[in-house]
């Protein structure tokens, strides 16, 4: 895999919490590159470091050693203000829950990152995104009036509307029933196919991961394997193997 042209990459990234005896090494020299216009899923058992890796890639967390790049820009060493600006302009987020501000309508939530940045929304793009997530008739509703699936789709639209370099999705379907989850995942995959969006998703659900173009498997803070064009069955097999490996150690 080539590193040039990657939407985001990590180079020899270590993340250590605490010091001395009590230190926990969440990431141990991870190097990955996430290709543009690709849907990457990161999987791994609890404590494997998959969320930490995503947080480091997204500029939410700092790394202990190594470098993180978004496009050509080096994240490591950026100030809080620099990281904030970067997140605002070049990164989109979809979290597991509490994605939306309860005081704002769906439309206001979608446009919030642009409003924060003081940028004018591109009307056509906004309309495209709203139609893509199928929320045109729900725009004036507040989050409390939306179902969980609708809320997550609003969050996806919000992540899309700034045309970020990468959308990071952290267990976006973790709180949804399977049908709603399928809608959200379908939208994320379509955004890659239709609009060339780069999406990185952390999940522990093999079905969710099967929507991705590529699955990275983490264990004990290192990338142990990856699976291109995965099927749920292949993912399950890989996970079982990893569990067995873990049990052996």
């Amino acid at each position: 895999m080539g590193t040039s042209g990657a939407a985001a990459r990590a180079a020899g990234v270590w993340k250590v919490y605490g010091t001395g005896e009590a230190s926990v090494k969440a990431l141990r020299g991870v190097s990955v590159a996430l290709a543009r216009a690709e849907f990457t899923a990161i999987m791994g058992p609890s404590g494997s470091g998959k969320s930490t890796l995503m947080h480091c890639l997204a500029g939410l967390d700092t790394v202990s050693q190594g470098d993180v790049y978004l496009g050509d820009e080096k994240l490591t060493g950026l100030s809080d203000a620099g990281l904030t600006k970067l997140r605002r302009e070049r990164v989109g987020f979809v979290f597991q829950q509490f994605n939306l501000l309860p005081t704002l309508t769906a439309a206001e939530n979608i446009l919030l990152p642009l409003a924060i940045a003081g940028r004018k929304p591109d009307r056509d793009w906004y309309a495209t995104v709203v139609d893509a997530v199928g929320l045109r008739d729900r725009l004036e509703h507040r989050p409390a009036q939306l179902s969980g699936g609708q809320q997550q789709r609003v969050a996806c639209a919000r992540a899309m509307v700034t045309r970020p370099d990468v959308i990071f999705a952290d267990e976006p379907t973790g709180n949804l029933d399977s049908r709603s989850g399928a809608e959200v995942l379908g939208f994320l995959r379509d955004s890659v196919r239709q609009f060339g969006q780069t999406v990185v998703m952390v999940t522990h659900d093999p079905t969710a991961a099967s929507y991705a173009d590529r699955v990275l498997f983490l264990a004990d803070g290192v990338v142990v394997t990856e699976l291109p064009h995965p099927t749920p069955e292949a993912i399950l097999d890989t996970m079982k193997r990893l569990d067995a490996l873990g049990a052996d150690r």
């Binding site: 947080h55 939410l60 967390d61 809080d80 203000a81 904030t84 600006k85 997140r87 605002r88 302009e89 989109g92 987020f93 979290f95 597991q96 829950q97 509490f98 994605n99 501000l101 309860p102 005081t103 704002l104 919030l112 990152p113 409003a115 924060i116 940045a117 003081g118 919000r158 952290d170």
Partner: protein
């Protein structure tokens, strides 16, 4: 259960610290007031027992116009013959007449009268002072142009032995040479800050009592073996009921009692303001415990599920309140002792070195501290405790239990309470409360506040949204505005706490401004006077007066149309105490003050004639020709006058006017005010500066035009307003603690939202702005409520005082806008810490799912 409560208490310390701080401040005020007044009253006890320590028995002339029950008793000063009579009483070793009267004002080195912030300014005869005073410098006064003064006065006036100084007494300025400076036992410069000027005996009699050969009191020494009490009885028997005969101890007690009365009035005012502060604290505590209960819903439900009964839940919340209240009370008491001691020191230095008794903590201080601190906290926690007890066990299993409760019930209750308050206020203000007017007004105001607070949640959302429009142009502003309206109850209680202080200030201000406007309007319309001679309302003793010759000279100036001096005094007319006046030139009065005659002649007065206003005449069934028996301050017997004129009701002048020929019997036979009309075309300012020159020997007064005079008069009202604002600042400070508390909680509760916002690109500065806007909106909301309620209260009072001459309603717009802006600024300050905390939100922790 108890252990769980206490552990919970520690884990919620920040929130409790803020609520406890509000109680600490309130309790500090209460106990500080008690410590201060206790220290001062014991200091007065000491002072008077020292002053009268050498006195066995003292005979005094009862004040001719003493207030109170025995007001009909009228005596004269004590003549020499009475002193002789006392000397003849068996058991009296010797009896000495003395002169000791308030009203001797020294003109200091700077040409100004040495002021006194309360203590009297005595004029005395030197021989009567020998017992107490200790000459420090120079010698006793022996010639009629010599005086000795106490060291405190010498220092305050920056004058020394050998200086020639002016002294104002019953007579205009007279010059004396200071030949001696004296102090008192124990190295003190004064007795309780009093100024004393000692003259020779005949001079003291003439200047302080108005004639020679009389005394203000007689000091009687008992012969060996005769007790003061026995001597008193004998002297009293000899003199009859016309004199007051008291032992030194009785006099000390009597003077101390008078001081105690004054101090308890002072104490009540301080307690009143403390009550306002504590009332505000109730809102803050109520809010805190509501939030604590809401946050503990799952924990409390779990306890219920495990078998705790409702009483235990209530007990758990109240125990937490009790511990908080107790700790706050103890801290407040400690702070109060410090504040009380500090204020006593300040008082002492203002009163010219008043000797303070040692500091003790009276039982009233710690009892009230504990009762108030514990009581207020427990009371405020009661509603949240009851709410806690209604949490069903199943709430432990629910995800979220902070649903919005409907506002119907609270609105209905609020309307009823507000209506009750308005009714009580109405009854109190219109004198229909059957003698309980003050209580009806206070209760009415209290109920109106509670009612408003209960109604506030209903308007919180729309009003805060409207205020927030100002900030809605930016994203952080818009988010802050929306956050302010999210929890209407919490916003409402926080704002209501601020409302109380601002409403009271606005109300007082509305009344004062209306009064000022009314007086100005009346003065401009009805007073045809170009220049007015007047003094600052004197702090103690006699009112400021000036030399009457000034008016005589002014009336002869070119360009002066007319001039008249006004003498004022208290007198008893047909058995009623009343203020009355006498003009040096009655013929110009009607023209100056737009007076019209209702009956008889009001333009001239014969030696035994008087006129009065129509309402007084009507109330007292007086008509032209009615006989009047008038007891003046210095007349030996009442004078018989005839009412020869009645003038129509005026907003400028009321009461009796006597002929100037009776002025020598007034307490002070010098004018307090002077009025000058300038001829059309003549220069007012030229005449003003000429009159100013004439007043060189009357430093207590100044001459000014009508607006100068009105400003001078309203300065007193401005000072009242300033005091009220300072005292209410405490209530507002507590309300600010409430705003901080509410914001801190909002930030805490919205950690996830903050994390999300930060994740999608809200910068730290924007986060801080968002929190600040929320604070400003809540504060401005509270201020607006306060302005509305306060101007409403003020309007009600102004309307009720219509008959007292406050005819104009005038709202203090400038100050109201100032209060609103200040509230906004206060909001910004209150937001500082919560905003920093919000900006420091750790994004990762905030978005982590358990």
């Amino acid at each position: 259960m108890i252990r769980a409560t206490l552990r919970g208490l520690l884990s919620r310390k920040l929130r409790l610290v803020l609520s406890a701080l509000s109680v600490v401040l309130g309790v500090m005020f209460v106990s500080g007031a008690f410590v201060l007044t206790d220290t001062l009253s014991r200091s007065f006890d000491q002072l008077f027992s020292t002053v009268f320590s050498n006195t066995d028995v003292q005979v005094s002339a009862v004040q001719k116009l003493s207030q109170g029950g025995d007001s009909e008793r009228v005596t004269t000063t004590i003549p020499e013959s009475t002193v002789d009579t006392i000397r003849g009483v068996a058991g009296a070793a010797h009896a000495d007449g003395m002169v000791f009267a308030d009203g001797a004002r020294l003109i200091g080195a700077n040409g100004k009268v040495v002021s006194s912030a309360g203590p009297p300014r005595f004029g005395a005869d030197w021989p009567s002072q020998v017992d107490q005073a200790q000459l420090r410098e120079g010698r006793a006064p022996t010639a009629d142009n010599e005086i000795a003064i106490n060291a405190g006065l010498a220092r305050a006036g920056a004058v020394h032995v050998g200086d020639t100084v002016g002294v104002l007494t019953l007579e205009p300025r007279k010059n004396f040479t200071i030949v001696g400076v004296f102090g008192y036992a124990g190295g003190r410069d004064s007795q309780g800050g009093a100024q004393v000027i000692a003259f020779t005996k005949p001079v003291a009699q003439q200047l302080m009592l108005g004639q020679t050969g009389v005394y203000s009191a007689v000091s009687v020494k008992a012969a060996d073996g005769v007790s003061p009490d026995a001597l008193r009885d004998r002297v009293a028997a000899k003199l009859g009921s016309a004199y007051d005969v008291k032992t030194g101890k009785q006099l000390a007690d009597q003077n101390a009692a008078a001081a105690h009365t004054a101090l308890s009035f002072f104490n009540n005012i301080l307690i009143g303001f403390a009550a306002v502060a504590l009332f505000v604290a109730v809102f803050l505590i109520l809010n805190t415990f509501s939030i604590i209960v809401a946050n503990r819903t799952r924990e409390l439900a779990l306890m219920r599920a495990m078998g705790a009964n409702r009483r235990q839940v209530i007990g758990s919340v109240l125990l937490e309140a009790g511990v908080t209240g107790l700790v706050a009370s103890v801290l407040g008491l400690a702070a109060g002792i410090g504040v009380g001691a500090l204020l006593a020191k300040v008082f002492s230095s203002f009163a010219g070195g008043f000797q303070l008794a040692g500091l003790t903590v009276p039982p009233a201080a710690w009892i009230s501290a504990l009762a108030v601190g514990l009581g207020v906290t427990m009371l405020a926690a009661l509603i949240p405790a009851l709410r806690a007890s209604r949490i069903p066990p199943v709430a432990a299993m629910r995800e979220s239990s902070t649903q919005d409760r409907p506002l119907t019930r609270i609105t209905v209750i609020g309307t009823i309470v507000f209506a009750l308050g308005a009714t009580a206020l109405g009854l109190g203000l219109t004198d229909n409360a059957g003698g309980n007017g003050l209580w009806a007004i206070l209760g009415g105001v209290l109920l109106a506040f509670v009612g408003t607070a209960l109604l506030t949640p209903l308007v919180a959302r729309p009003v805060s949204a409207a205020i927030g429009r100002l900030f809605a142009w930016s994203v952080p502003g818009n988010l802050g505005r929306l956050n302010a309206g999210r929890n209407p109850r919490r916003t409402a209680i926080t704002a209501a706490a601020l409302m109380v202080g601002i409403a009271l200030i606005t109300g007082v201000n509305t009344v004062l401004t209306s009064a000022k406007t009314s007086i100005t309007k009346v003065a401009n319309e009805q007073a045809h006077v170009d220049l007015i001679i007047s003094g600052d309302p004197a702090m103690s003793g006699m009112p400021a007066t000036y030399d009457k010759s000034v008016i005589d000279q002014a009336s002869r100036m070119d360009g002066v149309q007319s001039a008249s001096a006004l003498y004022e005094d208290m007198a008893i007319v047909n058995g009623d105490h009343t203020f009355l006046g006498a003009f040096s030139d009655q013929s110009v009065v009607a023209g100056m003050f737009s007076l019209t005659a209702a009956a008889g002649d009001i333009n001239q007065l014969g030696d035994r004639q008087a006129i009065v206003d129509a309402p007084y005449a009507k109330d007292h069934n007086l008509t032209v020709g009615s006989p009047l028996t008038v007891q003046l301050a210095r007349s030996n017997d009442p004078v018989q006058l005839t009412l020869t004129g009645i003038y129509n009701k005026s907003d400028l002048i009321n009461g009796f006017m006597l002929p100037a020929t009776l002025v020598p019997d007034f307490t002070v036979a010098q004018p307090a005010l002077g009025f000058i009309q300038v001829k059309p075309g003549a220069s007012v300012s030229a005449i003003k500066s000429k009159v100013d020159g004439l007043l060189a020997n009357s430093p207590e007064v100044t001459v000014g035009d009508r607006s100068d005079y009105l400003n001078q008069q309203s300065a007193a009202a401005d000072q009242v307003l300033l005091m009220v604002q300072i005292l209410l600042a405490l209530a507002i400070l507590i309300a600010v603690l409430g705003v901080i508390n509410t914001l801190a909680l909002s930030v805490l509760e919205r950690t996830r939202e903050l994390g999300l916002l930060r994740a999608i690109g809200l910068s730290r500065a924007q986060t801080m702005r968002m929190v600040t806007v929320e604070a400003v909106v809540i504060s401005a909301f509270g201020a607006l409520l306060g302005l509305v309620v306060g101007s409403g209260l003020g309007t009600a009072v102004v309307r009720a005082l219509k008959d007292q001459g406050i005819t104009e309603l005038s709202l203090p717009w400038t100050q109201m806008i100032t209060y609103l802006v200040l509230a906004g600024v206060v909001g910004v300050f209150a937001a500082v810490l919560p905003a920093i905390r919000a900006a420091r939100t750790n994004v990762l922790q905030a978005i982590a799912y358990e």
